[in-house]
């Protein structure tokens, strides 16, 4: 049997907080650069938040011809299109911008109708200002066949919308917003039809304008709510300086992670948001362990100057901090290497989060305690009682 190896045990005690000024400058710079990056370059929002379509297709014969595809899909009249290789050279991810429901989409719907329901079909936009769409059939049809035909274009024909009198035109009334949602479906059909013969469709994602906006809103709320909830928890468990220090460290980590997304133009999707929230949780996790030790030492060494006390606590917990960071790091590393393209931006962000979360626990959260003027004799009475219990236990030992 083997002996344990002390992986992260150091004989020397480091003066971590002696470096708090350079650290402060670096942290501030990173955060400013991140914020400026978000404001100028911007996040590369995925379709979850922006709305749009993403289609994954695999070439039936070997490699995907990106340039050729770009021309084909670009000429469909579905707006901005971007293509990228996805995972391997035969697979391509086609992204189409969110559809706004313009007249081009109605023209696209006519092509869909002519292909699926018959050559003579015409589709025209209704009066300006409305989202109405008019379908004209080449011949008289009964109600069942009307409904059947219109459903091929992805719309529902209601009883009242059937053609009246001798006309062959049915008008489907909808709002401009509804038409935009429908146009997502039209665009999917157009792209799928255009590439379907040479490419196997592996997966389709579509997020309409409405859901995109909703997800964006709830995502922002999720981040705010998480940070507030965690700060409140830390505040209840510790002094207010700890809560503020932890909150600043968490903000630092969240902002710099978003900076990483800007820097590498990683896809900022729902999974990325999950990464950001998890990083917030992890960052605090790391901070709280050190804070816990700081509090313990504050009771034990009431006369020790704060800087020494903090340094001492950080050194005492250093091997744990590094050990846990290392285990999480290797676990997330496995996700980066083997998790596949879907999890790629999530795992890269998490990897960064582990590093920055460890850094910020020491140089942001603890350094923050110094700047926030925490004094070692500043414990609440309730904590003092716990302290006495601690002493009693020590006497027994």
């Amino acid at each position: 049997m083997w002996k344990p190896v002390r992986l992260f045990a150091f004989k020397r005690k480091f003066d971590f907080l002696g470096q708090r000024r350079p650290a402060l400058i670096i942290s501030t710079l990173i955060n400013i650069v991140s914020i400026v990056g978000v404001l100028t370059i911007g996040l590369n929002f995925g379709i979850d938040f922006k709305g749009g379509i993403a289609i994954q297709a695999k070439a039936k014969d070997g490699t995907a011809e990106l340039d050729q595809l770009r021309t084909i899909v670009g000429n469909l009249g579905v707006g901005e299109v971007s293509l990228q290789e996805f995972g391997d050279p035969s697979t391509v991810l086609i992204r189409v911008q969110r559809q706004e429901g313009d007249n081009q989409c109605v023209a696209g719907a006519q092509r869909v109708m002519q292909k699926t329901a018959g050559q003579g079909w015409q589709v025209k936009p209704g009066p300006a200002g409305t989202g109405d769409v008019e379908f004209t059939s080449p011949s008289a049809l009964d109600a069942a066949n009307w409904r059947d035909a219109v459903s091929r274009a992805g719309l529902t024909l209601q009883e009242r919308q059937l053609p009246r009198g001798s006309t062959n035109t049915a008008r489907i009334d909808m709002s401009v917003e509804q038409r935009a949602e429908w146009c997502q479906q039209v665009a999917i059909k157009l792209v799928e039809d255009a590439i379907g013969s040479n490419y196997e469709l592996r997966g389709t994602e579509s997020v309409g304008p409405k859901i995109g906006d909703e997800l964006m809103r709830s995502g922002i709320w999720a981040v705010i709510a998480t940070m507030v909830a965690i700060a409140i928890y830390v505040w209840v468990r510790f002094e207010w300086q700890f809560a503020v220090g932890a909150l600043i460290a968490m903000l630092h980590d969240v902002i710099s992670t978003i900076g990483i997304f800007v820097l590498f133009q990683l896809d900022f999707s729902l999974t990325a948001l999950a990464a950001v929230l998890t990083i917030a949780g992890y960052s605090i996790n790391d901070t709280v362990v050190i804070f816990d030790r700081v509090r313990e030492n504050m009771r034990r060494y009431k006369k020790m100057p704060l800087l020494d006390l903090l340094n001492h606590s950080i050194n005492e917990t250093l091997s744990r901090t590094l050990m846990t960071s290392a285990t999480v790091f290797v676990a997330v590393g496995a996700l980066v290497l083997f998790g596949g393209p879907v999890l790629h931006s999530f795992s890269i962000a998490m990897l960064w989060g582990v590093i920055v979360g460890t850094y910020s626990s020491v140089w942001v959260a603890c350094a923050g305690l110094v700047y926030l003027g925490l004094r070692p004799d500043q414990l609440r009475p309730a904590d003092d009682k716990a302290d006495q219990g601690d002493k009693a236990e020590k006497a027994e030992a």
Partner: protein, 556 residues
């Protein structure tokens, strides 16, 4: 601290074994599962659509247009009632999606007009002043209607998607006006999408009793006023006995008319008059209730708007004793005999029904009344091999990730302590699996990422404990005392660290949707169960180990 009472040791071991038992069906190969009792073998974690392959649609019902439609119907009734009560009015207009505006000729008639409108429907909310009266559905009524429209849409969807027979769709309500449709294993979604866009069509016809009296199911000729329509039972029977024919009917393009279906496949059919007595758009509501008198049988009640009520009244008065066929989507769902003239705008269908049957029938009726248009507002379709790729990637990442963490722990804390921590990690994963099996949660690709992350995070509790034990050992404590104080003092940090991560996990679950929920589920479950596995479970292992080996020195 390490002196565990026997019952605690037994309880901890029992919890561990029980979770292993619950997790096991997920890990066993199919060949072994065959020989196990079904209830046990089938209690497995569902794979999410991103791993399994399938389609996921979020649909939004267009409630505004349904409301407008209802208001238009209401305006007819209000007009009729005002005329009947001889209240002179200038106009009754519909404000789309909101309310009716009644403009009176003379302000003095206001109270009389209000009374007349209340006579139409006492639950209406009336406002306005002078010669204008605003008529709206009450908030309560609107909420009820909304719920009904969604129920109706879900029913239509279920019927449509089920027609293909091979799919196992899950259709659930999402919030006030949305429906989530999930269809695992579907390859081509274009048919499915078309079905979403076909609403139900309900019409009432009189049965041509002269033709029916011949007793033939499919008469050679029928008069030009009459056509044949298959009954619902007939079609269900056909589907059971002749699935091939059923499929042909579904895939026919152009669609077969009911008469063609009758002639070609000969299910049970009824000759009905082509003339529509009243259509679904005039049907206001339908409910499953009970007869008034004691021991009341289950019945179906229905209400028409005023136009529908008038037409229905005339038709029933002239045809007492004849059958009235209710046709939904080219099938006759029921053909009750007209007992008496039904003139109040509402009537009932009696018969020897069970409660379940009346509920089904009334839902069928409702699904033909003013169906809402459903719009796809989010779609996610994953092909089977994309799902297989994801499973492959997720499995490899999970195995490599946990293996690396395990190696780390072995190296850092040696075979005994490292081994205990790794055993705890294994138990933690088993407990997450067990928890997901019990909760019926789905495992998604982000969920696997959550598992991997949990594996890395969960050993943190052991790292905290072991590092503390090392410190206490360095202070010169005996092995037993070092272990006991190590556990005790690490506890507050463990709880704080886990609870903060838990907060993030729970909020993520609350805000997230779809696959992200999967991540939040495994992460949250993993943190909760790690509190057991990393502290309570390892403490038990150590307690047993210390008593057994009585080490003079801790190798940690």
């Amino acid at each position: 601290m390490l002196n565990l009472p026997r019952w605690q040791t037994i309880a901890i071991a029992a919890i561990t074994l029980l979770s292993a038992l619950f997790a096991l069906p997920n890990l066993l190969p199919a060949s072994v599962l065959q020989h196990l009792p079904q209830w046990y073998a089938t209690s497995r974690i569902n794979l999410g659509l991103d791993l399994r392959g399938g389609a996921h649609f979020l649909l939004e019902a267009d409630l505004r247009s349904v409301l407008t439609e209802r208001l238009t119907n209401l305006s007819d009734s209000v007009r009729a009632e005002l005329r009947k009560q001889q209240v002179p009015f200038r106009d009754v207009t519909v404000e789309a999606g909101k309310n009716l505006v009644v403009t009176l000729r003379d302000e003095a008639n206001r109270s009389k007009a209000l009374e007349a409108i209340r006579a139409v429907d006492p639950a209406l909310a009336l406002s306005g002043s002078g010669d204008t009266i605003r008529v709206a559905y009450s908030a309560q009524e609107l909420a009820k209607r909304k719920k009904e429209v969604i129920d109706q849409s879900i029913e239509i969807l279920r019927r449509r998607v089920d027609e293909t027979g091979t799919l196992e769709p899950t259709i659930t309500r999402q919030g006030d006006e949305r429906i989530l449709l999930q269809v695992p294993g579907i390859k081509d979604t274009s048919d499915l999408k078309r079905k979403i866009n076909q609403t139900a069509k309900l019409t009432f016809h009189l049965v041509n009793e002269d033709v029916a009296a011949t007793g033939q199911n499919i008469p050679q000729t029928v008069p030009p006023t009459t056509f044949l329509v298959p009954t619902r039972e007939g079609m269900l029977e056909l589907r059971r006995t002749n699935p091939k024919a059923w499929e042909d009917i579904q895939s026919a393009n152009p669609r077969l008319s009911p008469e063609q279906i009758c002639r070609r496949y000969q299910p049970q059919c009824l000759p009905v008059l082509k003339r529509v007595v009243v259509g679904g758009e005039d049907l206001d509501d339908s409910k499953a209730t009970f007869e008034q008198q004691a021991g009341g049988r289950p019945i179906i009640s229905f209400t028409f708007n005023s136009a529908g009520g008038r037409a229905f009244c005339a038709a029933t008065r002239a045809n007492i004793g004849k059958r009235l066929a209710i046709q939904l989507d080219g099938e006759i769902i029921s053909a009750p005999v007209v007992q008496s003239a039904i003139c109040g705008g509402s009537g009932i269908i009696t018969g020897s029904f069970t409660t379940q049957q009346t509920q089904e029938q009334s839902l069928l009726l409702r699904s033909g009344a003013l169906p809402a248009t459903l719009t796809i507002i989010q779609e996610s379709t994953v092909g089977a091999d994309l799902g297989a790729d994801a499973i492959q990637a997720g499995t490899v990442a999970a195995l490599v990730g946990t293996a690396l963490v395990a190696i780390f722990m072995f190296v850092a804390y040696g075979p005994v302590f490292g081994g205990f921590a790794n055993l705890a990690m294994l138990v933690n994963l088993l407990m997450v699996f067990a928890g997901m099996s019990i909760l019926g949660a789905s495992l998604t690709l982000p969920g696997i990422a959550g598992l991997v992350l949990t594996a890395g995070l969960a050993v943190d509790a052991n790292v905290l404990i072991y590092e503390r034990v090392r410190e206490e050992k360095a202070l010169g404590r005996s092995p037993f005392s070092a272990l006991a104080t190590g556990y005790e003092k690490a506890m507050s940090a463990i709880i704080d660290a886990n609870l903060t991560t838990l907060i993030a996990g729970v909020l993520l679950f609350g805000f997230g949707s779809g696959p992200i929920r999967g991540f939040a589920t495994t992460l949250t479950l993993g943190i909760i169960t790690s509190m057991f596995s990393s502290t309570i479970f390892t403490r038990m292992l150590l307690a047993v180990w210390v008593r057994w080996r009585r080490p003079s020195e801790l190798v940690i």
